[in-house]
């Protein structure tokens, strides 16, 4: 079971997608199948933390099979502390995505849910692949369902937003692929662990490595996004179906930074760190300031996300151990909170058919549950102690303060305060104050059962993650650090040369 669990996680959504594609598009049938598939897959992902061995080095649940002989591409998957919870997170967000689409997607459900499930497979693939080509494959694959669904279900001009999204993320992956190919040409392997060892030997040309590292970083920074590469974010949040928007930003790029930039090129990452920290600092303030002035709540959420993701980038490029713990934990928090907010905003838009904040007002009396859950999620987002956002932010801020520089810590803290400002103001404008014309005229009902079934557990989780972070962080600390060199590469020159010889015979 331990060997095949990751393959099972990877293939179950794909199988679900095929089933959805084959069955007729009748009523809610595709939605039910998608829900079932995502619940089953979530169940599988829970197997990972249950059987994860603490303190054991290296990757776990590993499986390594040769896929293509020449050039040698392996189906090599495994998880460590870094990817463990991210896989579970993908599993957790999938049912939330289905619920968020339940009433919002009214036509072509079959296509929607099959692409939705393909997207799940692609995301699992990104998190578990330990072969750079396989990783790249899933990385690219994750763009396709997203782009098609944005184009099909966009609110106003889906095609434009989808093209923008696709070009923004596809073009930077061109240098990424060249960098991967260059690494292969120099070392004869696509394997993550082998490459890490080979790069650690210092035998590769330094200039080439810097370019390769830059190409990796650029692709990831667009995907996160990092200021000033965030051009696609607001349009995508605005146009994408809720289930897609909640997974589009953040974790894929941040994970890739941690694993494949900081993890693979520690020296180059160190060289880029000051730049990245500065960009993150600017991003925190820029995102928060723009979020303050948005009139549309999707755009507000987009700039809020830019600010919060920049904070995580700050944690990553602080290059401190605590900062990484905080960054990884904050990825989980951020995605969880964002998902809850997406479902809530989606619920609002479904009921009142507008995303203009000014149209709302005084909703708390009309939809009390929705308001309560919204307040909880907002408080978690702004980092109220006892809720999960606090732990991650605190770890990042304190590590920045002690390990990087006081100045940037202050900047980041200002950003956190500003985020409290816009979130609380948003809550006030949406739910309190005098009832708006629209709110008093509407007869919309409170949250449905499905939405409650997702959101209350999320709220509980936010509380638990805020009170007992060690449940998560212990496992997170079992990760493959960037400088660790494998024992087999103790005489690195030999290992490198022998593989190069194989590669040369291509």
């Amino acid at each position: 079971m331990n060997d095949s669990i990751l393959t099972l996680i990877l293939l179950t959504p794909l199988a679900g997608a095929v089933v959805v594609a084959l069955l007729p598009d009748r009523g809610k049938l595709p939605a039910w199948i998608a829900l079932l598939t995502s619940l089953v897959t979530f169940g599988f992902t829970l197997h990972l933390p249950a059987h994860f061995v603490q303190g054991q080095g290296g990757f776990q649940f590993e499986i390594d099979r040769l896929w293509i002989e020449n050039p040698p591409i392996h189906y090599h998957v495994g998880v460590d502390g870094l990817s463990l919870w991210l896989v579970v997170l993908v599993g957790l967000l999938a049912p939330a995505g289905v619920v968020a689409s339940w009433s919002a997607i009214k036509e072509r459900r079959k296509l929607f849910y099959s692409l939705f499930l393909v997207q799940q497979t692609a995301m699992y693939g990104v998190f578990i692949s330990l072969d750079l080509m396989v990783y790249y494959g899933f990385w690219e694959l994750s763009l396709v369902p997203m782009a098609i669904l944005i184009a099909m279900y966009g609110r106003k001009d889906g095609s434009r937003a989808a093209t923008k999204f696709f070009l923004f993320t596809f073009v930077p992956s061109a240098p990424l692929l060249v960098a991967i190919l260059w690494l292969y040409a120099k070392t004869g392997t696509f394997g993550f662990a082998d490459l890490q060892a080979d790069i650690a030997t210092g035998a590769l040309p330094v200039a080439g490595l810097s370019w390769a590292a830059l190409a990796f970083l650029f692709a990831f920074a667009v995907k996160v996004p990092v200021f000033p590469l965030h051009g696609w974010l607001a349009d995508t949040f605005n146009e994408a179906p809720v289930a897609m928007a909640m997974v589009v930003a953040g974790k894929l790029g941040l994970y890739s930074m941690l694993r494949f930039h900081v993890g693979l090129f520690p020296a180059q990452a160190k060289a880029f760190a000051p730049l990245m920290i500065a960009l993150a600092g600017v991003g925190i303030l820029y995102g928060a300031c723009l979020a303050l002035v948005q009139r549309d709540f999707w755009r507000l959420l987009a700039f809020a996300a830019l600010g919060h993701l920049s904070l995580i980038v700050l944690g990553v490029y602080g290059l401190t151990f605590t900062g990484w713990d905080g960054a990884i934990y904050q990825i989980l928090n951020n995605e969880l909170i964002d998902a809850a907010l997406f479902v809530l905003f989606g619920a609002l838009e479904l009921r009142y058919a507008t995303s203009q904040i000014a149209s709302y007002g005084g909703l708390a009396a009309k939809v009390p549950q929705l308001a309560t859950l919204f307040v909880i999620s907002s408080l978690a987002m702004i980092g109220l102690p006892m809720l999960n956002g606090f732990v991650g932010e605190f770890l990042i801020l304190s590590s920045t303060f002690s390990g990087v520089s006081h100045g940037w810590a202050v900047v980041a803290t200002v950003g956190v305060i500003l985020s409290a400002a816009y979130m609380l103001w948003l809550v006030q404008r949406l739910f309190y104050g005098p009832q708006s014309q629209m709110a008093s005229a509407s007869t919309a009902s409170d949250l449905r059962f499905g939405e409650q079934a997702i959101l209350w557990p999320f709220a509980v989780l936010m509380l638990v993650m805020g009170m007992a972070p060690s449940l998560w962080i212990t496992a997170i600390e079992n990760r493959i650090g960037p400088v660790q060199v494998r024992t087999s590469a103790q005489i690195p020159g030999v290992a490198l040369a022998s593989r190069t010889a194989e590669g040369g015979q291509r």
Binding site: I68, F138, L143, A151, S159, T163, L167, F170, T500
Partner: protein
């Protein structure tokens, strides 16, 4: 000549007989009788030729007919590919040619005769036979390009293609003449031997001129920039099933010829042709993609896209030793699968008389015909080069070869170009994914018969399999690449394939 020689051209013989048979039956059928069944005859003949070509693998590698044709894994690879493309193109035509067309017999016969020329082009090792093969294939395609005589564009396409095409063939022939003058032979291996023995002889200017002229002739056929000008007009004017064929099969044959010429005839001049092909590759990609961005007509857009793909393929020629050849061969196969596929879909959607030629006419296809729409998306995704499709591995191997050959910038330009290209592919994809416009009377749903379903199925399956389990085809292309090397060259070439060692 020994009696076993005819086995070496068995697929060509079978195809020729099929073509003759089709013409004879066509002539003896009374006027007005349906001629659709002739397409099935041609399809069966092509299938037999395909199998016979696979059977040729059991023959020892070698030449026949006094060293004019060769059988080797290289020729078999391209024979199978060409026969496969022709088969799908025939199936495609079966369901889309109008019933009342009384030239159907000619159509099928010409397709099969074209296949004879293309197959022979890949197996000939005597430049004069190459020339004849090229002419056989070209003349068939010239006629097929003008098959829609009733429109103004049909004859225009045919005449343009014919005039420019014969001009380009003239260049090739002139090149052959010059190389004959320089070395005293037109046989590939003898020329190669002569060039190796006297690498910098007094005839060097002559050899260089010959190389350049031959490159012009061949690059015209693969529609690489700057010899691409004919492509969009011809593709627009020719019927879509013909474009499905002529954008892939003759190009596959021409690339096989290019591989033979540069790697077998002129390996000694690698320092000359490599930079030339580098420039042509970059030009083709960039010109093709930039021009495609502006196109509203789907076929013109795909024409420019095929120019760009020729560029991606040429990037493989920067690879070291046989990696480049293998990558190029694989790319041709992947490109053929997805391009035939997309033209098949376009044929069905716009119809034979092309009532819906524009990108915006494809709007709502995913709603009108979900199956066809999904297939169109799939082929477009493959053309973009998304992983788990043939198009990705094609690009991957091609640029991998380029990076291995230290042409990192070529790979960067190529991949950025493929990013640029995604913009126009996506325009078509998103147009097809959009809700149909309100108020418009929806165009009638296209009719998809058995032959057409089979054609679409073959193309889609090939594109998918090349993306998921490319190992088999890759191994075949590597075997093919290893046989493409003159026997006398084996020792001299060895150091070039030496390992890539990391620099300290």
């Amino acid at each position: 000549m020994n009696p076993g020689d005819s086995y070496r051209i068995l697929p060509e013989i079978i195809l020729t007989l099929t073509g003759v048979l089709v013409m004879l039956i066509d002539a003896s059928l009374p006027r007005g009788w349906p001629r659709r069944s002739l397409g099935w005859v041609a399809a069966v003949g092509t299938t037999v030729a395909l199998w016979s070509s696979l059977w040729q693998l059991s023959l020892p590698v070698g030449t026949g007919f006094y060293g004019t044709v060769e059988t080797s894994p290289f020729t078999v690879f391209f024979h199978v590919l060409i026969c496969g493309i022709v088969l799908v193109a025939l199936l495609l035509a079966l369901d889309t040619l109008p019933e009342d067309s009384h030239h159907q017999g000619e159509y099928y016969a010409l397709v099969v005769f074209g296949a004879v020329g293309m197959c022979l082009m890949t197996s000939a090792v005597e430049l004069l036979v190459v020339f004849i093969a090229l002419e056989i294939s070209s003349i068939s395609t010239y006629i097929l390009a003008g098959y829609r005589k009733e429109t103004g564009q049909g004859p225009e396409a045919a005449i343009k293609y014919f005039l420019l095409g014969s001009f380009a063939t003239g260049f090739l022939l002139y090149g052959i003449a010059l190389i004959f003058g320089a070395t005293g032979s037109t046989q590939v291996y003898e020329i190669a031997h002569a060039l190796v023995v006297a690498p910098n002889g007094p005839a060097l200017p002559l050899e260089l001129a010959a190389l350049c002229l031959m490159l012009v002739g061949i690059l015209f056929k693969v529609s690489a920039a700057p010899f691409h000008v004919w492509t969009p007009d011809v593709y627009e004017g020719a019927p879509s099933p013909v474009v499905a064929l002529m954008s892939t099969a003759p190009k596959a044959a021409a690339f096989a010829l290019l591989l033979r010429v540069v790697y077998e005839v002129f390996p000694t001049l690698k320092s000359v042709w490599e930079p030339v092909l580098w420039i042509v590759a970059v030009l083709s990609m960039t010109v093709g993609n930039l021009a495609a961005l502006r196109q509203q007509n789907v076929k013109r857009m795909l024409a420019y896209s095929s120019i760009a793909h020729a560029g991606y393929l040429l990037a493989a020629f920067a690879g070291i030793g046989s990696t480049g050849i293998a990558a190029a061969a694989f790319y041709i196969a992947a490109y053929a699968a997805m391009n035939v596929g997309i033209f098949a879909v376009v044929t069905v959607v716009s119809g034979y008389d092309e009532k819906l030629p524009l990108v915006k006419d494809f709007r709502g296809l995913l709603y009108r015909a979900p199956m066809l729409g999904s297939l169109l998306l799939f082929f477009l995704i493959s053309l973009v080069g998304i992983p788990f499709t043939g198009g990705f591995f094609g690009k991957f191997y091609s640029f991998s070869a380029a990076v291995g050959g230290e042409a990192v910038w070529l790979a960067v330009i190529g991949l950025l170009n493929s990013g640029l290209a995604s913009a126009y592919y996506l325009r078509l994809a998103f147009s097809c994914a959009q809700r149909p416009a309100e108020g418009d009377a929806p165009p009638e749903s296209p009719r998809v018969g058995i032959a057409l379903s089979a054609a679409l199925f073959f193309a889609a399956a090939a594109t998918l399999l090349l993306g998921i389990v490319p190992s088999e085809v890759l191994r075949a292309s590597q075997t093919a690449a290893h046989t493409l090397r003159p026997p006398t060259e084996q020792q001299e070439m060895q150091p070039v394939t030496a390992k890539i060692t990391p620099q300290p």
